[in-house]
Amino acid sequence: MKIRGSLYVAAFFLLLGLFGIIQSLTFRYWESMVLPLAMSSIIFILAAVEVGKELRRQDNKGAATEKVTGKESKDSIEVRRLGLVFGWAAGFSLTIYLLGFYIATPVFAFAYLKWRGRSWLTAIIFAIAMLAFIYPVFDIGLKAALYRGLIFGAR
């Protein structure tokens, strides 16, 4: 039987609440303990209610869900797309960390558009346009010294 995503999410919050309760009990003074404990308990109790509801729903609709194979493939396509997009975002963040905004931005803009199947010219123009946008707006206009990257000595 296929487990619904909402059950995973509710279970995640249940564990988070439990973790919060255990952690809160280690805080030394009641002033620092009372609110984290209260909030973690609320999350734990409400998430338990959600898990209960989801399990009941699962029991009722389990057989029907099992037969829907089209939905399963749609979910897996979406998860794969999310993985790719998240990979791009994480890769861009790492490139900024290493090389700074002024190198990472055009590289990312160019690489992403090429990956999406755009022509060389479009990708190059877009990459240059992004650089031409961020430098005058942020560095000159807003006087925000953008990160130069770990490799180039920024900390």
């Binding site: 988070l16 620092s32 984290p36 909030m39 409400l46 998240f86 963040s93 961020i134 942020f138």
Partner: protein, 497 residues
């Protein structure tokens, strides 16, 4: 009081503020048209940059942008059957059939006039309400504020989540996240796991941008759409006729404006509710309800008036009580705090001219936005065809720059990406992102108010008239659906008996 009104006008009409407003209106109109970017995403993207600007200019920028997003959202609903913003979905019901009948210009004229006037009139209602609510606000002390914060989070949680339970989990999670780091009263480090990065807690900007900006990008990319197919937009005629239609249906427009304003005042309810309620009442009170959905102008006037009317009410609640009147106002709370203005009773006493400036700003932004839309609607509709391939890198670059500018730490990229994923999951499974953000923003405030109240009045500090009333209201609202079911069951049993 009159002095405050006069200085509000003076602040608003400073040339630099007018210029910022014009730019914000243009950006807001573009955002309203492009499907995939909402007003809330844009406010989140701009948050990191506003704290570098003067207080009044930064808040005028945000309010002008928010005020007109819904005006242009209606244009693509009418001409292309593509709602630029969520609440504009209602306008497609009659707006697009009008375009198909060759009455697109008339529909645009009616929609823009109804939105523009609907955005202006409630401002004066709100301005008139300010002196009336001041004595009530002044009566609020620590216990009242503690319970008020709780009420705000609970209301937003219950109304914006897929269910009350999920909404409340979101609100409580936001509160819990706000407690991460050093506790100033006791010196205890909470949930920081010995990491220096978490000693000062989680930063607001990466959290807000992650929840509302990055998660939208993930959602957009996951949907797999790469471009909105552009449909031909013919030259528009009949715009003036549409403007006259609003005058002919002035009572419908006024009712919708009033309903929108009242819905705006109620914490947590967004434009989605206002537009559907007003469309429903327009249909119910119409002499020809059967024609709704086939392209009648009343079906355009009612939702468009309500959509813009809610802003003034939502802003008033946000400023006066510190409780956001709509989900986008949760981000406004963050903006207020970032520029050093604490929303709530203190704002209405210490920053009254600024509060009035923002209310007047809504009216002025609506006038500017309305005029631009009336003249440029067909050209603006073409913006809906922008390719999403370019949006993803463009928005991600601005978001990450914003995070760095605000926090000066590239480590916060990880926080933004993590909250982007969390936001995506929450959006998908009906958990409330605005409630999480509100809980996060008000968490430390709530802790301070409640600890002070316990120390001054004891653990039963809420047994006082105002807090107790607020608590009862909260409990009733949270259990509304159960109570309604129980009451109808009781009524059925009594009828049988």
């Amino acid at each position: 009081m009159l002095e405050a009104y006069a200085s509000a006008v003076a602040i608003l009409f400073q040339p630099i503020n007018l210029l910022i407003m014009l730019l914000a209106v243009i950006v807001g109109l573009i955002v309203g048209i492009i499907p995939g970017i909402s007003g809330i995403t844009m406010v989140a993207l701009l948050l990191p940059f506003v704290f570098r600007m003067p207080v009044d200019a930064s808040l005028i920028l945000l309010i002008a942008l928010t005020a007109v997003v819904s005006t242009s959202g209606g244009i693509t609903s009418i001409l292309l059957n593509i709602p630029g913003e969520g609440p504009s979905v209602v306008t497609t019901l009659d707006g697009f059939p009008m375009t198909k009948k060759g009455e697109g210009g008339r529909a645009i004229g009616a929609a823009v006039t109804a939105s523009m006037a609907g955005g202006i009139v409630p401002v004066f209602l709100a301005l008139a309400m300010v002196p009336a609510i001041m004595p009530i606000i002044m009566a609020f002390g620590q216990p009242e504020m503690a319970i008020l914060v709780l009420l705000g989070i609970s209301l937003l949680a219950a109304l914006t989540g897929g269910s009350v339970t999920r909404g409340l989990i979101s609100g409580a999670l936001g509160l819990l996240l706000s407690l991460v780091g050093y506790h100033s009263v006791t010196g205890v480090h909470r949930f920081s796991f010995g990491t220096a990065f978490l000693y000062d807690g989680i930063e607001l900007i990466p959290l807000a941008l992650g929840l509302f900006g990055v998660s939208e990008l993930f959602h957009m990319a996951m949907s797999g759409e790469t471009a909105i197919v552009q449909k031909s937009v013919a030259r528009l005629s009949g715009v003036v006729e549409g403007m006259k239609d609003v005058w002919q249906h002035k009572w419908l427009w006024f009712r919708s404006t009033l309903i929108g304003y009242i819905i705006g005042i109620i914490p947590g309810i967004g434009a989605g509710v206002a537009t559907w309620v007003c469309y429903g009442q327009a249909k119910q009170t119409s002499k020809h309800p059967e024609k709704f959905g086939t392209g009648v102008v009343e079906g355009v006037i009612a939702p468009e008036a309500a959509d813009n009317a809610k802003e003034a009410g939502a802003l008033l609640t946000t400023m006066a009580l510190g409780i956001p009147g709509s989900p986008v106002m949760a981000l406004f709370l963050a903006a207020f705090l970032m520029v050093g203005v604490t929303p709530g009773p203190r704002m209405m006493t210490e920053h009254l001219p600024l509060a009035l400036t923002l209310l007047l700003g809504i009216a002025l932004a609506n006038i500017i936005g309305g005029i631009i839309c009336l003249f440029a609607a067909p050209y603006m509709a073409r913006l809906a065809s922008v390719n999403l391939d370019f949006l993803f890198p463009g928005i991600l670059i601005v978001a990450l720059i914003g995070i760095y500018v605000a926090t000066l730490s590239p480590m916060n990229f990880i926080v933004a990406l993590a909250f982007g994923l969390l936001g995506l999951v929450m959006r998908r499974y009906g958990y409330s992102r605005p409630a999480l953000l509100l809980g996060f923003i008000l968490g430390s405030m709530f802790e301070n108010y409640s600890l002070l109240s316990i120390k001054i009045y004891g653990p039963l500090f809420f047994i006082r008239p105002i807090p107790l009333t607020l608590l009862i209201i909260m409990i009733l609202l949270l259990n509304y659906s159960y109570l309604k079911r129980a009451l109808s069951g009781l009524r059925r049993r009594l009828t049988k008996a």
